[in-house]
Symmetry: C2
Subunit: 248 residues, 2 copies
Amino acid sequence: MYSIKLNDISTRASKDVDKNETKGKLVSILEELDDLQNLLYAESKHCLLIVIQGMDASGKDGAVRNVFGKLNPQGVMVKSYKAPTAEELAHDFLWRVHSHSPAKGMIQIFNRSHYEDILVTRVHKWCDDKLARKRMKAINDFEKLLVEHNNTSILKFYLHVSPEEQQKRLQERIRDPKKQWKYNENDFSEAKLWGQYMSMYEDCFENCNDVPWTIVPADQNWYKEYVIAKAVRNVLKDFDMQFPGLKK
Amino acid sequence: MYSIKLNDISTRASKDVDKNETKGKLVSILEELDDLQNLLYAESKHCLLIVIQGMDASGKDGAVRNVFGKLNPQGVMVKSYKAPTAEELAHDFLWRVHSHSPAKGMIQIFNRSHYEDILVTRVHKWCDDKLARKRMKAINDFEKLLVEHNNTSILKFYLHVSPEEQQKRLQERIRDPKKQWKYNENDFSEAKLWGQYMSMYEDCFENCNDVPWTIVPADQNWYKEYVIAKAVRNVLKDFDMQFPGLKK
């Protein structure tokens, strides 16, 4: 049906990727990131929006913590999107998202995002296909606004976890006292809708692709973190930034 | 050059419009408006965005005060746009506008608006033609978002004043102690750029017309207020609203 078939994409690093070597590379990328983020903030010409999507227990929170956790919080903001509030529902679906778009010099992370309005809402039939098409068009226009009118680079990550790994992690949430706070009584019923979620994601990758998606193999946290950190580092490096020097 | 030529449009009511009769009609329209606004708030299905643009001293503040001043402020919000702050400039030009878009049930008035980003900025060459075209596209997409994704009706009023009437009013601002606070030292230098402003307005009416503009003859305040009040009343009436009854 769609040209990206998630089933055909591995949720793990390929066999020739060495775990220890990759972890070593991650450490040095994170050091580079720290310098680049400082430069981004100092120069204040670009901004970076990072959208993280994925099924429950795909490791979104961990990605935020382990890739961005050591950066200066003055220049890094995280917005986690939950079910919309009454005030948010009284506005268009991009209202709550636009207000958190990054200022120049900033890295803004969306933990879940406006994409939920064409994902969870479609799976539960709160949004029909016709409305979904209109929302996709509005999302593309909105992302274009940020790119063209505020020098924003957008990185969109889909954390691609296998249903087996997800089940393992959900079970851990029940058993581990340090993870129980993450458990939600709907987690297992949502997991049963796996196939429908995958279709909606595939539709989204195909139709909201003016800014392309990165599918991140996410069964191994070390590899997921490496892929994300490297992509962020590469984008920041490409900005070719300079410290502004003394103000004139 | 553009199909709307402001020079060809009168800034006054036509001769057959009777002042006293019109003022009488305005009083009864304002009473209707009060009921309609209450119903809009109670039903909370629609929202209304009113954009007021015009040259200095064209009567924007007076329009806000005299048309909307007696409505319940709980359901009516006014946002006056001035020169952007540093924080606003660090975002795309629609960021500060979107955050004030109306919630369902609300009337939101913009006293000046996102249109300044293709008006004053172009006259002063802070925005070139190419960027102006891109902004116009972004404005049209943005207004479409509000219309299609939050059931918003948008009314855009240009208060059409003559340069002679403007000069008279600017002089009053200098003489009248109650109006001196409105006087700005740039008012007269801006007024000299009249022709350039008119061209930019004409370009804007032609290219940001997915939601059409109403050109309001504004040399006579009583007529201006009547035209605006009637247009707002008509739109609200067309919503064909109902009180929701007891909550189920």
